[in-house]
């Protein structure tokens, strides 16, 4: 006895939608800084604004006043 279309329907779209969401997240996660392109990583040192590899051997924190 074959499966009904209603039972199969929830399965086929999961993989392509997951891949699409992953691609969108990657595209939205790139950005700049200092006028150059750079990788934006998840916040390190409690800051939301981090550029560079999480595996970099050095970390430089700048405390700044825009004035």
């Amino acid at each position: 006895m074959s499966e009904s279309p209603q039972r199969l329907f929830p399965l086929w779209w999961i993989l392509p939608v997951t891949v699409l969401l992953a691609l969108l997240a990657t595209a939205c996660g790139s950005g700049g800084g200092g006028g150059t392109s750079a990788t934006v990583t998840p916040a390190a040192s409690g800051s939301r604004h981090v550029i560079g590899s999480p595996d970099a051997p050095l970390e430089l924190i700048e405390y700044a006043d825009f004035q």
């Binding site: 939205c28 700049g32 050095l58 430089l60 924190i61 405390y63 700044a64 825009f66 004035q67």
Partner: protein
Amino acid sequence: MFARSVAPQMIEEYVDTGKLRYVFKYFPFLGDESYYAAEAAECAGDQGKFWEYHDLLSLRWQGEGVGTFLPDKLKGYAGELALDTQAFGACLDSRRHEALVLADKRDGAQAGVSRTPTLILNGQQISSPRDFEELKAIIEEALNGGG
């Protein structure tokens, strides 16, 4: 000014090559415009344009307390970057990011920060470099195990 004269080369030579991770934190202390600018940068960040706005502020900087970073000006800069100016204006007027900016400042004060720019390299406060070459020497020393 670090953001304009040193950071671009530092990012190109060390961040983009995987040797250095750069973390930006707020330490507003020079006056009201400092707080407005920091909160405005967060509002730009809400629209995914923090770094672009950060770079634009460094270009528009003219000095301390000269009106360059008053709310109306900051809203104009958002327009230059084609942000949603209505949402940006509402964000800035609401001061919804004030607590986040103050939290950064509190962290800085606890780390011994009292002026800007203050740079902390792998947990050690370093003297503010006059130019990129001076910073480069400090970074190279740290990469070679001297820092």
